[in-house]
Symmetry: C2
Subunit: 338 residues, 2 copies
């Protein structure tokens, strides 16, 4: 079968790339959460042996990649592409992690959608014949994100009920163009930037829900598939409010999603861990992918999952200049061993 | 011919994608420079009708893309991919520009190498069969970059002799997978992150030169081509010092580059415009590409050009934490109408 474009936003490789390794690293709060026991590494002080939170993020990316490579029985030298991005200014979490990795590097910025973007780009690059192995890596860190986006931790700012908790986590997956055993990526849908005018930067779920709606709808229009084709449709980090808004959108269309969840609701214990509207950050969807979705696809819990990481493309500067928050979402179909 | 990977970092599409449109926008200083008359739009106050420098960057990207689409006789609706990035925190120059453009969006971060990264990714995506048209867009703005990376303009800080002047410019090119008339992209080389330990953030040329050396050397090793295969080898924004260092590296190898230049030396009049070591910023290589290289390839001035944008993957935070400056460079072969 030939590689082909379906509709306006979807790509279907002739031979689906396969995820042959995954790795995940999380902080103390993530380790204490419901998925914590599946982490490859954790750190009690969230510093992972580094001196700063930013350097800790780079270290987390390296640890996650090492774990993924180990599962894939590969070394960094085998990688044709390292695709990585994060939330830090100038993506330094990824740039400094990549410094220690001898692989062709492509930096990506999709905010919290980065795990989706990197897997989507990796899928297209590998099926073009440009390489055999690609790594998709991302991270976020609560402490570096708080001081960059909001206020320094020392300030002790009270959080609003709609606020989400940035995950201290990094995830990595290894893709191959080989026809081998593993979770396949039979199709992807690249999102458009969508902005419904939300200006409250403590309400990211509402800002990103319209982008998730746009991309998931495009996925079904482009492919002709119905939502129940998938055992699970899961967004990145819409959290409690955003995921309710997304469900409302589809219900209003007369097409309620019966098989829908959100990574932001799964990473932490929503009753016990005081994270308000849920988890967020690039590391949220990346870690739920690596600790929950991929293991579940490999052990037969699900056969088909539509993984839809979401991102908010604003900055503190744009917010201070009165801009609203544009969102984006990419959809990745994941199919387990049948 | 099949798409194939050459050596460890180079990709050769079976059918080379073609650049069928380009557009360029610059500020007042760029308009007064030696390439100024080739700009599609300029702005006397560098605001392009916007209220802030950051919003001006988004406006510049839109104007550059409009000009490129016009030359290609296309509309934004025709785009299968919009590939864009910039220097601003969270790449807001690109994210907010993309909000007004109905096209699947992939945000990239390669600092000043972004024009190279976006064309390289576009080349691979189109030759995978994932689409027919892709736009590669980037920008930088002197005023937004100064206050973000260095000091606010109002502070009037004196610049060191090694400092470069961030271009206020945006460039856009339209790629197609169709076999049509235009500048072809027969091969690309994806760079690795290289860090020789330079910590002086007012000396970006020195920090990026080792990455340019690594990528250009890999290009010749992977392809078996000699430097004189190209009529011109041109780096992104190494400036006066960095380009001398790169020339030294190759001369020391016994392989002097007789056909070498740098975009950072061409955008401004180095004697008259008081830019110290030359131009820099994502907009530097993008605007030299669109106002000088592509027109020269189309009119037969050159037949083959190796375009090598360079980027420094640091941030003000990483510099304050004592980190050195990692560099990256991607090489894009451009071949004109024979």
């Amino acid at each position: 079968m030939e590689n082909q474009k379906l509709g306006s936003q979807t790509y279907q490789p002739g031979q689906a790339p396969v995820i042959i390794g995954h790795g995940c690293v999380g902080g103390r709060k993530e380790q204490e959460g419901p998925l914590g026991r599946h982490l490859d590494h954790s750190s009690k002080d969230d510093l992972f042996g580094a001196k700063t939170w930013e350097q800790a993020e780079s270290r987390m990316q390296q640890l996650a990649l090492d774990a993924a490579l180990k599962r894939a029985q590969l070394h960094t030298d085998n990688l044709d592409f390292l695709l990585a991005g994060d939330l830090l200014n100038q993506c330094i979490g990824s740039g400094y992690a990549a410094r220690a990795i001898s692989a062709p590097f492509l930096g990506l910025y999709g905010a919290c959608s980065t795990m989706g973007e990197s897997i989507a780009v990796g899928t297209m690059l590998l099926s073009s014949g440009a390489g055999r192995y690609a790594a998709a890596v991302t991270s976020s860190h609560f402490c570096s994100a708080e001081r960059q986006y909001r206020t320094p931790l020392e300030y002790g700012c009270q959080r609003t009920p709609t606020a989400q908790w940035t995950a201290t986590a990094a995830g990595a997956v290894i893709l191959t163009s080989d026809n081998v055993w593993g979770v396949r990526i039979p199709r992807i849908t690249i999102g458009k930037v969508v902005d419904y005018g939300i200006k409250d930067t403590a309400n990211m779920g509402s800002a990103m829900a319209p982008a998730a709606y746009s991309t998931i709808k495009a996925h079904f229009e482009d492919t002709g598939l119905a939502p129940d084709y998938y055992d699970l449709i899961i967004t990145g980090d819409l959290g409690k409010l955003g995921s309710e808004i997304l469900a409302d959108f589809f219900a209003t269309d007369g097409c309620p999603l019966s098989n829908y969840s959100d990574c932001g609701l799964l990473l932490f214990d929503m009753n016990q861990q005081d994270v308000h509207a849920g988890a967020s950050g690039c590391g949220c969807s990346a870690s739920v992918l690596c600790t929950h979705l991929l293991p579940g696809l490999l052990n037969g819990q699900w056969k088909r999952v539509l993984f839809c990481p979401t991102g908010a493309l604003h900055s503190p500067t744009s917010a201070m200049q009165g801009e609203s928050v544009p969102g984006i979402c990419h959809a990745i179909a994941l199919e387990g061993v049948q």
